[in-house]
């Protein structure tokens, strides 16, 4: 009879095991961030004179392109050896958290850009301002501002944008033709979008104009919030701002789209829903450029039947989200100069091009200004990528400088999800999320 009660200790033990590894450092923590306005001293990375090993954590280490980069780089820098660490994209951030907590962080990591502020705000990353200022190929002005902004915290850059995408509107040309509608253009509006969605919906025939997903409602509602002229948080990140009249207007508009969306997909994700678009059940689909890549590879039979338009403009103008991957260097790295040389190598123009639109299978945008403006090269393999490039000027990186934002995001998903299921009104969803979210932002 004693065994089971000992089991209950294990819960505590599991949580604690990780925590304890780093308990010794309680109260410590170095502060390496620049105060805003402080001048930046350019820093030049020095080539190591004896062999060093740089560990590089990513989920792309198996790709032939990356393997080629490693070989080429090691030839150019004979004293630097790149050691690849593999982790699945779904577990990447979690593994890095554990590695940082255990003082075994890799030198460089390939991360989802949303993780940059998460680590940067906790002094776990090296401030790259100095290195960038002293670099021949990675000056801040060479990167697309919205992508760079995603990698900044407290006025300093902690990650190099490596690839990226915006959110746009995929649409079925065949369904628009059948309904006698003209295709969405670069400057279409909420009204046109809504009326198209209505005309493309025929619930009796299980035909829908749009698709909405409760578990991801926060992410896909964000562009509508900005299009209405609203913001997620205040500029300092300390208080919620999405409960403004614009916030409520955008929630009403976005949740209202459920009447043009298949109800059996309400509880799904934009990944599950791809089938509905591919089979012609859904005519318009809000997604990033990854979706086009997926259509190309898994549903080649509808090739040519779909295209991409920018998201419609709202009362506050055009807006879209940016997402992407970044390269970061951990402050636990003992060979920071060598680590920087590797990061700089990967992001130099020819390599970034090879990594993004330079291959027919990749559908990611390059976050460098010169590459993104080269429209001829951009559309070489996937002409529809222009739909994404066109709205680059509208990209918003609502800089989420509050480290508790992740929790607020979960809360918004929960409340907007309830509104999609009709349990509460969109206005109630926004107000409840704002009330709980404010507590979370203040650290409660």
């Amino acid at each position: 009879m004693r065994r089971p009660s000992w089991r209950s200790w294990r819960v505590l033990a599991t949580v604690a095991v990780l925590a304890i590894v780093s308990t010794a450092c309680l109260g410590g923590g170095n502060n390496g961030s620049n105060a805003p306005g402080q001048s930046i001293t350019p820093k030049t990375a020095v080539e190591p004179t004896s062999p060093v090993t740089i560990t590089f954590s990513s989920w792309v280490g198996d790709s032939p392109q990356m393997q080629g980069f490693v070989k080429d780089f090691e030839k150019l820098h004979p004293n630097i050896n790149i050691q690849l660490q593999s982790v699945s994209s779904a577990n990447a951030t979690n593994k890095l958290i554990v590695q940082v907590a255990g003082n075994t962080a890799p030198d460089v990591a390939f991360v989802d850009s949303s993780a940059v502020t998460e680590f940067g705000s906790r002094n776990a990353l090296v401030n790259l301002d100095g290195y960038m200022a002293g670099s021949p190929t990675s000056q801040p002005s060479e990167f697309v501002p919205a992508f760079l902004q995603m990698n900044q915290y407290g006025g300093s850059t902690y990650g190099l944008p490596y690839d990226g995408e915006t959110t746009a509107m995929f649409y079925r040309k065949d369904l628009f033709d059948a309904a006698g509608l003209s295709y969405p253009t670069k400057d279409w509006t909420w009204d046109q979008f809504q009326s198209d969605a209505a005309k493309l919906t025929n619930t009796a025939q299980k035909q829908y104009g749009f698709a909405i997903f409760a578990p991801e409602s926060e992410y896909y509602w964000e562009p509508f919030l900005w299009q209405a002229g609203g913001h997620l948080t205040s500029a300092d990140g300390n208080s919620v701002a999405f409960n403004s009249p614009q916030g409520i207007q955008s929630a009403n508009f976005y949740v209202g789209l459920k009447q043009y969306s298949p109800p059996d997909y309400y509880g799904q994700t934009s990944w599950d829903g791809r089938v509905a678009f591919a089979t012609g059940k859904v005519a318009m689909y809000e997604a990033g450029s990854w979706f086009g890549g997926e259509m190309n590879s898994s549903f080649p039979q509808i090739k040519g039947k779909w295209d991409v338009a920018p998201l419609p403009a709202g009362p506050g103008g055009c807006a879209t989200t940016v997402a992407g991957d970044s390269l970061v260097m951990f402050s636990q790295s003992k060979n920071q100069d060598a680590a920087w040389l590797w990061m700089q190598y990967l992001t130099q123009p020819d390599n970034m091009k090879a990594w993004t639109y330079g291959s027919p299978t990749t559908t990611l945008l390059p976050p460098r200004v010169d590459l993104l403006n080269d429209t001829a090269a951009l559309g070489k393999y996937n002409p529809w990528l222009e739909g994404f490039a066109q709205q680059m000027d509208c990209a918003v990186a609502d800089n989420l400088g509050n480290k508790n934002w992740g929790q607020v995001s979960d809360e918004l998903n929960k409340q907007l999800g309830k509104a999609i299921y009709g349990d509460i009104t969109p206005e109630e969803a926004i107000n409840t999320a704002a009330q709980n979210g404010q507590q979370m932002l203040s650290g409660g």
Binding site: M1, S8, V11, A13, A16, I20, G27, D264
Partner: protein, 315 residues
């Protein structure tokens, strides 16, 4: 199960001097043999639990690797945290929803398998198999069964015209928890069955023979002999399954990630919420306070169940 109470008098050493050294030598051998186990226990249980207790009074951040002492603030925050109370509710729903059916079915199967039928050991093995299947594998299997697009359950429900659109079992807030519970019942029946079977075989056959002589029906034998005689087994299972249920994590992590609609949603149990706080929100202090709160709840529940057990058995 007999040694619930510890011996009353402490063991006193009153032996002469020479034998003390011998006794000590014997003891040291014993301690040395226990050492590896004790070390593991000390590092991964005692130290870890102690560290969690310490951390629960700080706002330690595992990535920033720093934190301050905050007193009871984390515990106060736990009590005022709506998601925690909701998670408690989900945990209770899961625990009761799993425990009661799986114990009733387990008892039923045990009674059937306690008789002399052909292929007995085959049935016993078959029903016990889920219990020894690795949890994550079993969970992944059920995740596919429940899938809304190509899951077998939806396939048959559609074919038999019971439903006309697929049910999104794991993505629908009304279905997600019942779906997880159903899987857990399937998983735990085997264990309950084996424990009940052991209990049944400990009941003297004379009792049944005497009852039969007295003309008792099968139902009366079940009601008057089997169930009362199995009482200690039942309480053991109650305690065991309560603790197991309160610690449910893997199933939620693999199947629903606490949703729908996502983390913090309809299937977020207390342990999953602890995980969210520790590794997603990076609030190690609050996570430790949550873990300690859960420990106290489980401890109190076990204590109540034990007291009840002792009272029942002594009667």
């Amino acid at each position: 199960m007999a040694q619930v109470t510890a011996p009353k008098q402490p063991i006193t050493v009153t032996a002469p001097k020479r034998s003390i050294t011998r006794q000590m030598r014997n003891e040291w051998t014993a301690y040395a043999m226990q050492l590896p186990g004790l070390l593991l226990f000390a590092v991964f249980t005692v130290y870890a639990v102690g560290a969690a207790a310490y951390l629960s009074f700080t706002n330690y951040d595992p990535v920033a690797r720093s934190g301050d002492f905050v007193g009871w603030a984390n515990y106060r925050a736990v009590l005022h945290d709506g998601t925690w109370w909701a998670a408690m509710g989900h945990t209770l729903y899961f625990t009761l929803g799993t425990m009661i059916p799986s114990m009733v079915i387990g008892l039923g199967l045990a009674s059937l398998l306690n008789s002399k039928i052909r292929g007995l050991s085959f049935y016993r093995t078959a029903f016990y198999l889920p219990a020894i299947t690795p949890l994550v594998i079993a969970t992944l299997l059920w995740k596919w069964l429940y899938n809304g697009d190509y899951g077998l359950i939806n396939y048959y429900l559609l074919r038999l015209h019971i439903i006309d659109t697929p049910i999104q079992f794991l993505a629908d807030a009304r279905w997600a928890m019942p779906a997880v519970i159903l899987m857990q019942i399937w998983l735990s029946i085997g264990f309950n069955m084996v424990v009940y079977l052991a209990g049944l075989q400990a009941i003297p056959a004379e009792l049944y023979e005497a009852a039969e002589v007295d003309g008792a029906t099968a139902w009366q034998r079940m009601r008057r002999i089997t169930i009362p005689m199995l009482w200690p087994t039942t309480i053991f299972l109650l305690v065991f399954q309560t603790i197991l249920g309160m610690q449910t994590f893997d199933q939620i992590f693999v199947m629903t990630s606490g949703g729908p609609p996502g983390p913090g949603g309809a299937t977020t149990t207390v342990t999953y919420y602890i995980y969210l706080n520790a590794f997603q929100y990076l609030k190690m202090g609050k996570a430790s306070a949550l873990a300690w709160t859960l420990f106290l709840v489980v401890f109190a529940l076990s204590l109540i169940q034990f007291r009840w057990y002792v009272k029942q058995v002594e009667r």
